[in-house]
């Protein structure tokens, strides 16, 4: 397996934290506990053999009505080894996740987007505001129980002046 070194190191360092490991179409996905995500990211970022210096993507997925319903997916890229690694945490309704913004600045806007569209708050985020929708918008559109046409679709948006 391509990512074997990363997986091995991860299992050595955090033996209890690799909850699930899946390989689909040569892509490795590791599910880790929500509380450990910051420490794991920090390790993967700073370990001299791994050096996952780039956070390619961070996004949410809603598996409603499954519980816990959300997943936050981290896609890391190591320039040194030219490898990608996908991490996942499960987040329940009205739970929060830890921000990785202090490791990768790229997470700043990406976490804001997850907060905006899924309503998952991130602890220790320096500037957690809505990003695509306006302040005061009600609901989180990418949740599965949010209708495609939106509850406000026949009402024009008139901002207060």
């Amino acid at each position: 397996m391509e990512n074997s070194l990363s997986i091995k190191k991860l299992q050595e360092k955090f033996p209890a934290s690799v909850l699930e490991m899946k390989t689909f179409r040569d892509e490795v996905t590791v599910t880790v506990p929500k509380k450990d995500i910051f420490e794991i990211c920090k390790f993967l970022y700073s370990d001299p053999d791994l050096q996952y210096q780039m956070l390619t993507d961070l996004c949410g997925v809603d598996y409603f009505p499954q519980q816990p319903r959300f997943e936050v997916v981290y896609l890391l890229y190591s320039m040194k080894n030219q490898q990608r690694l996908r991490l996942k945490i499960k987040v329940g309704d009205s739970e929060s996740a830890s921000s990785v913004e202090s490791i990768w600045k790229a997470a700043n806007w990406l976490e804001r987007e997850v907060y905006d569209l899924f309503g998952i708050p991130f602890d220790n985020h320096p500037d957690l505001r809505r990003i695509l929708l306006w302040d005061g918008y009600e609901g989180h559109p990418l949740r599965k129980d949010f209708p495609v046409e939106g509850p406000d679709f026949d009402k024009p948006f008139v901002p207060e002046v």
Binding site: F24, R25, E27, T29, Q53, M54, L55, T56, D57, C59, V61, D62, Y63, V73, L75, M79, Q82, R84, R86, W104, K105, A106, N108, W109, L110, L117, R130, I131, L132, L133, W134, P141, L142, F146, V148
Partner: protein, 390 residues
């Protein structure tokens, strides 16, 4: 002593130099920028949400409308992701046609960037030159696919149709003439004193910062990082083409300009290679579950008619799983992360927009510089709001 206060200036969302509906709130100490707060989302159409209620085939036209200067590249990323999810192969000719179109599109996208970027800084002539060449590319796209801005050319398993007669000569003419056009642009800018003063040493971002902020594409390579998805994770037979990745050294606006110019030359070379070595054969895989039957059969053969009807109305059901495919779009790494629950519609389609992350680094880039430099810096990261807001 008189009290000094920071001045807050609002720029956009309706502003010719913000390349779309981008709003920046700038806090200034005199002419020096202390803090920048970008506001985005004015063009949010909910593409990711919309995709969840469409079959996999129906999502392709949505991707055209992300970065509307790079429609072919957007198509390519999406179809590659679906193909990876399904685990199907694509005929060699289709792969080459995809490369051919994606590289022509990259040239067209870079031409728009060059014209508007130069226009922002005050060099107006270039825009007319650039649009002259871009028109040639759009004419080619129109003949090939029927669309200019939104070609929707790629299909899951291949491309929608083969090249029409006579088009190869037109592409060859373009490829032959284009290097001279780049020289034309360079005589106007590369050694122009005003251009140098507006771009050299402006909007610098270091290698480490650029990586940390998740920048990709020419904006990252301008800072001297040799990361190009076409080389790092080759797709659609890119490993068979000879090309180099141009990089800068300082990471300023000028470096990003030079990187894109060189990239256009290499794209031109790739187009030439693709035409020369274009293999013969079908342009779309023949998989009865996934691809449409040949049009002629539909009117004659009941089985083909049923297949057409089933695929057009119901689509197909990929296996359960998740895939990520990144492609090198004109702005950077465009990624599609698809999660399938085994039904005929994606459970989640996440688009990793390159401009979104490039723009998030803008405040860092222009901190402490003059307000006039904001314009050059925005132009140099080449943002398209259609993709940032989705």
């Amino acid at each position: 002593m008189a009290e000094t206060r920071l001045m807050t200036i609002n720029m956009g969302p309706q502003h010719p130099a913000t390349h779309g509906v981008l709003r920046l709130v700038l806090e200034l100490d005199g002419e020096v920028i202390v803090k920048t707060t970008p506001h985005i989302g004015y063009l949010h159409r909910g593409v990711e949400k919309l995709a969840e209620s469409k079959t996999y085939h129906q999502v392709i036209p949505l991707t055209d409308r992300l970065d509307y200067t790079n429609a072919m590249g957007n198509n390519l990323g999406y179809v590659l992701a679906v193909e990876k999810l399904l685990g199907i192969g694509v005929p060699k000719r289709a792969q080459y046609l995809r490369v051919l179109m994606a590289e022509l599109q990259r040239i067209a996208a870079h031409l728009i960037w060059l014209g508007t970027h130069a226009l922002d800084i005050g060099a107006m002539t270039l825009l007319f030159y650039n649009f002259r060449e871009r028109e040639e590319i759009l004419k080619i796209f129109e003949e090939v696919s029927g669309g200019r801005l939104t070609p929707t050319y790629m299909r899951i398993g291949g491309v929608s149709k083969d090249l029409p007669d006579g088009i190869t000569d037109k592409i060859k003419d373009f490829v032959r003439a284009f290097p001279d056009h780049i020289k034309e642009y360079e005589t106007l800018l590369t050694k122009n004193v005003i251009w140098l003063k507006r771009t050299k040493g402006v909007g610098i971002i270091s290698k480490e910062d650029a990586i940390n902020w998740g920048m990709t594409g020419p904006s990252l390579r301008g800072s001297g990082v040799k990361y190009d998805v076409r080389k790092a994770f080759p797709y659609s037979s890119y490993e068979e083409f000879d090309f180099e990745i141009p990089i800068g050294s300082v990471g300023d606006v000028y470096d990003r300009y030079i990187v894109r110019l060189r990239e256009m030359e290499w794209s031109n070379a790739i187009v030439e290679q693709a035409l020369e070595r274009l293999p013969k054969g079908p342009v779309i895989a023949n998989d009865p579950r996934i691809t449409l039957p040949p049009k002629d059969d539909v009117t004659k053969d009941i089985a083909a008619l049923i297949r057409q009807f089933k695929i057009a109305s119901e689509g197909f059901q990929p296996p359960k799983g998740e895939v990520y495919v990144g492609v090198e779009a004109s702005k950077g790494e465009l990624g599609y992360y698809l999660v399938s629950d085994g039904s005929n519609k994606p459970l989640r389609m996440r688009i990793r927009p390159p401009s979104f992350l490039n723009l998030s680094a803008l405040p860092k880039m222009i901190e402490g510089s003059l307000i006039a430099d904001v314009i050059s810096a925005i132009g140099s990261i080449d943002i398209v709001l259609g993709e940032i807001d989705r």
